[in-house]
């Protein structure tokens, strides 16, 4: 597995590693796959694409791994995914949400995370139908990762609402004053944020400072404990889309949360849940393939249908993207992610 254990993608990578180790321990305890135990080799990508390329290169050619669990950092994946095509090594991505990954019609890459484009569309529907929001402004990071937020605007136009303005910011910005003041001048009641957790917390704090009474909505990435740690009470009431919430009633989820907490001492976030599912999907594929043959494993993964996971029922389409029956919208209350309401079905 290649994952960002340091750098600014560290919190996603660590959740991914913990959950995959947890799932693998369970599988090995249950006798492994057709009698053979699974072994996890981890390489740190430091959230830097060049380092990710070297890490994956090492795993494939030196450690000769038959199958790869891909990096949680969205910008790492495009750097090495073509290499996997040539090396015929199947890869499952439990966390990376960048739409471009599955738009390149790769044969050897599968993703059980929610494609950001679908998330953006769902978020737009949710805002329009459930929240009845009409005056919405966009605040997106000026990178490929952030520009997926434009899909939110497109979906909104399809629903007949023109977004008031699209403001951009650079990752790690200190003062969000300029952007938020322009948004205030348009009189927006809702702001849709698309970026990482550190900036999400900064935006929330600046909104509180400028006492702008606005409903803050965000994408999947900020759904992590770090957001609450950095944002404090400023992020209270913020709404995000994601696949899993630690307080959900589903018994399997409860068991997972309990096991994760005893093992790692902190509440798992949606990325941990998705990584857990990812590992179990991979295990099921290995079971079906029956042999350590890359082509068989790839076909088994492609054939995954209605897999019952913590994050919903998952099946892969021809591009290797997971299609989800339903997605969660969560709200931050009392310093915890709680389910807001089930989004309209797909």
């Amino acid at each position: 597995m290649a994952a960002p254990l340091t750098g600014n993608g560290a919190s996603f990578g660590i959740s991914q590693r913990n959950a995959v180790q947890l799932a693998m321990a369970e599988i090995n305890a249950g006798g492994g796959i057709s009698g053979r135990q699974l072994q996890l080799l981890v390489e740190d990508t430091k959230t830097e694409p060049p380092v990710a390329v070297t890490a994956v290169n090492k795993l494939i050619y030196q450690d000769k791994v038959p199958v790869l669990i891909g990096s949680a950092a969205s910008l790492d994946v495009p750097a090495y995914m073509e290499m996997l095509e040539k090396a015929h090594i199947p890869q499952i991505l439990p966390v990376a949400v960048l739409p471009k990954i599955t738009e390149s019609h790769l044969k050897w890459t599968f993703r059980n995370a929610l494609n950001d484009k679908i998330a953006a569309a769902k978020m737009a529907e949710f805002a329009y139908n459930t929240l009845g929001a009409r005056k919405i402004a966009l605040l997106i990071e000026d990178s490929a990762f952030g520009s997926t937020g434009l899909r939110f605007a497109e979906r909104l136009k399809e629903l007949g609402v023109e977004p008031l303005t699209v403001e951009r910011f650079t990752r790690g910005q200190i003062d969000f004053g300029p952007q938020l003041l322009r948004i205030r001048s348009f009189g927006a009641t809702h702001i849709q944020f698309w970026g990482y957790y550190a900036d999400y917390a900064q935006v929330a704090r600046k909104l509180k400072e400028l006492n702008m009474k606005v409903q803050l909505m965000g994408n999947q990435a900020p759904v992590t404990n770090k957001t609450i740690e950095l944002g404090g009470d400023a992020v209270e009431g913020a709404i995000n889309i994601c696949l899993f919430v630690p307080t959900s009633e589903d018994p399997a989820a409860k068991a997972f949360v309990q096991k994760y907490q005893t093992e790692y001492g902190e509440v798992p976030d949606t990325w941990a849940a998705e990584s857990y599912d990812g590992m179990r999907i991979l295990a099921q594929a290995l079971q079906v393939a029956g042999a350590v043959d890359p082509f068989k494993i790839r076909d088994a993964l492609a054939a995954t249908k209605d897999f019952k996971g913590l994050t919903g029922t998952i099946s892969f389409n021809k591009d290797g993207d997971a299609e989800f029956k339903e997605t969660f919208v969560t709200k931050i209350e009392g310093g915890r992610f709680v389910p807001f309401k089930m989004a309209a079905s797909h």
Partner: protein, 292 residues
């Protein structure tokens, strides 16, 4: 018009931080004819020290500021004594400059070792109701950062102007041989200058902490912008550093507001390049020191 004024006001907070750093650069450049590449990382070290004091020792804001400034002062003193003073007479300007680069990499390495690359939250002692001032929202943080920076600058100015040691420092920076010949302990004034600039950087770190968060590589970009402020204001001149810092803060905010945040840094460094080639002495030309 209201938004324009608000944008400029917004830029002042970060502007003051850049001013503090630029002041540090000018102090070191004036007395040692050296550009201190470790200034950004001393700023980061100050932020982490402030974080530890605030979170682990639960001190309120003012003691954290004062304690961090003193600790950074001694950190700067130690760095100058251990890395820059030895054989400084025979070492060339480039040699000394590369030593400060080594110090910068060392500081980043040590925070990486101790704190990793995570972001840490500074307890929010600065937040509170913003003050409405003729329709403009003056954030409380601007008031606090502004007063703190101005107070520090005032203390530094008074020290340089009225104390014997301060005058000796100014003398040594204007004419090193002359100062040696009339009995001023020039090496001591140089380490004092370095320590003071470290203290200023530390203060910057503590002031920015509550507004942002504290992480390992926060010093690099802020340090470079501090450079730019010092050059625009006039390397080596105190008023220049302050004006330069505020200018950079405003340029940054205006370019984010009116151009786009993607080109924010490019614009600031573009101005640095233009200033260096057209007018390397900056706005406040330095009278006595020799030119670029």
């Amino acid at each position: 018009m209201n938004t324009l004024a608000q944008q400029i006001l917004g830029g002042l907070t970060t502007g003051f931080i850049y001013a503090l750093l630029a002041l540090g650069f000018s102090l070191v450049y004036q007395s040692m004819r050296l550009i201190n590449f470790a200034q950004g990382d001393l700023f980061m070290a100050g932020a982490f020290i402030g974080y530890l004091l605030a979170v682990k020792v639960h001190l309120p804001f003012l003691p954290v500021l004062v304690l961090t400034v003193t600790l950074c002062f001694f950190l700067g003193l130690a760095i100058e004594r251990l890395t820059l003073a030895p054989r400084s007479r025979t070492a060339s300007g480039v040699n000394l400059m590369i030593r400060t680069i080594g110090v910068s990499v060392f500081l980043q390495g040590s925070t990486l070792l101790l704190f990793g690359t995570e972001e840490y939250r500074f307890p929010d002692q600065l937040s509170g109701e913003p003050i409405l001032f003729g329709g403009l929202v003056v954030s409380r943080s601007l008031v606090i950062v502004g007063t703190a920076s101005l107070a520090l600058m005032l203390v530094l100015w008074a020290f340089l102007k009225y104390t014997a040691l301060g005058t000796a420092m100014r003398a040594a920076s204007q004419d090193r041989t002359g100062a040696e010949m009339i009995g001023i302990d020039v090496p001591r004034t140089r380490s004092l200058a370095y320590a003071l600039s470290a203290a200023l950087a530390g203060a910057g770190g503590v002031l920015i902490g509550p507004l942002w968060y504290v992480h390992q590589s926060m010093g690099v970009m802020i340090g470079l912008k501090g450079f730019t402020a010092a050059v625009i204001g006039g390397m080596g001149s105190m008023p220049g550093a302050i004006v330069g810092g505020l200018c950079v803060g405003m340029i940054e905010n205006l370019s984010t507001g009116y151009v786009s945040s993607t080109w924010k840094d490019a614009i600031v460094f573009g101005i640095l390049l233009i200033m260096l080639s057209v007018r390397p002495d900056g706005i406040f030309r330095m009278r006595s020191a020799e030119r670029a």
